[in-house]
């Protein structure tokens, strides 16, 4: 059982806590000859693979480094434009490293606030009155479980699609939140949770769940 991450969204839809637990890091480095058989494009301030998937380099992966020098935006560390390098025959062979980009904190905040109306929409769309919002959302690579408290705080757990007993884990996270975040006198409501005790007890819980399942929670 793999847990990928935990998110807590406040009553007003803001992300107040996020924790990446166990996200596999996908990175591939490969040496290429001229001409490059992968189509790259510059979008959203990243150099992205748009076509020509091979050897573990997938469409959507981002160029991370050229000849060991990390890429920011479309330039390498020594100030050269990535596309100039790729088009010039004399710069080859090139060793390019591609990987899947991790979501930045800003992107996570955007995603969390996108989930909020989605949750409300689901309960509005429901053909049966008095429906709750989204409780689980399953994709082929992950399962998202959401638990909303009576006060409107949402606890979101992203796991392996086969994970069982996520409700119990979410309840436990709620208990941890009510103990370690809310009883901390220096924590103000609706603000991001920066409580070390909460962090450590959450990590302990997630490790326990991954090791021995949810049966003895």
């Amino acid at each position: 059982m793999v847990i990928y991450g935990v998110y807590i969204v406040s009553k007003s839809g803001g992300l107040i806590y996020n924790y990446d637990h166990n996200i596999p890091r996908i990175e591939t480095e490969k040496t290429f000859g001229f001409p490059l058989d992968i189509k790259l494009q510059y979008e959203n301030k990243k150099v992205v693979v748009v076509f020509g998937q091979r050897d573990g380099i997938n469409v959507g992966h981002v160029l991370l480094s050229v000849n060991g020098s990390p890429v920011t935006g479309r330039t390498t560390e020594d100030g050269k434009d990535v596309f100039d390098l790729i088009e010039a025959k004399e710069s080859f062979p090139l060793s390019l490293k591609f990987g899947r980009m991790r979501a930045t904190t800003n992107e996570k905040i955007v995603l969390a606030s996108m989930f909020y109306p989605l949750f409300a929409l689901a309960s509005q769309l429901s053909p049966v009155p008095k429906s709750s919002g989204i409780e689980t959302l399953t994709a082929d690579t992950f399962k998202l479980s959401c638990f909303q408290t009576l006060t409107g705080v949402k606890f979101i757990l992203v796991t392996d699609p086969n994970m069982q007993g996520t409700e119990v884990v979410l309840k436990r996270i709620y208990e941890l939140y009510s103990d370690y975040a809310l009883k901390n006198p220096f924590y103000s409501l609706e603000m991001p949770i920066r409580c070390e005790l909460f962090d450590t007890s959450l990590h302990t819980l997630l490790e326990l769940v991954e090791k021995s399942g949810t049966a003895n929670l």
């Binding site: 009553k11 949750f119 809310l182």
Partner: protein, 176 residues
């Protein structure tokens, strides 16, 4: 309460510790604030702030559902008194509309050993504040006040709780 068995720490403290700490707080406030009315207001405010946090602990511990009726709410409040103060107030004096009730108790850990100066202080003013704060977080607006107080010579302490309105705009999606 499933939590007691499954949790790592079911922390219990001697009620005397709470009584003394609360007493120290109130007497310090009386020293620092000249006007007793202001002390009452501050106590209410402290209680409110405690209530808005305590409700999460209550819900996480008991796994309660949303109350759709005032009698259920009264039950839950009674349960909370048992949980946090280890006391069992009686719920009485329902109004005919069913939107107002009294909590009556004759012994409260907060006011044990207290002899009141005669200055209009509401010694247990924290409790109504906490009830109001907690219920507000579950979208229930109530009014809460003492109508009898043992510390002022009444036979029992009576706290009145009155439903004002449901905070519709604050009901979370998927619950309304």
């Amino acid at each position: 309460m499933s939590r007691q068995t499954s949790r790592l720490d079911a922390k219990k403290v001697n009620s005397e510790l709470l009584t003394l700490t609360y007493g120290a707080l109130v007497s310090q406030m009386l020293k620092e604030i000249d006007n007793t009315d202001d002390v009452n207001k501050q106590l209410e405010r402290i209680g409110y702030n405690m209530g808005v946090r305590l409700i999460e602990d209550f819900l996480a511990r008991t796994g309660s559902n949303r109350c759709m009726e005032m009698r259920e709410t009264a039950d839950k409040i009674q349960q909370a008194f048992r949980l946090y103060l280890n006391m069992q107030p009686t719920v009485t004096s329902w109004s005919s509309a069913g939107d107002e009730f009294s909590l009556v108790w004759d012994q409260c850990p907060l006011s044990e050993w207290v002899e009141m100066p005669n200055n209009g202080l509401k010694y247990c003013g924290l409790i109504p504040g906490a009830i109001r704060g907690a219920l507000q977080m579950v979208q229930l607006d109530v009014q809460c006040w003492f109508i009898q107080d043992q510390l002022k010579g009444d036979a029992v302490t009576e706290l009145r709780v009155k439903y004002i309105k449901r905070l519709e705009d604050a009901v979370p999606a998927g619950e309304d």
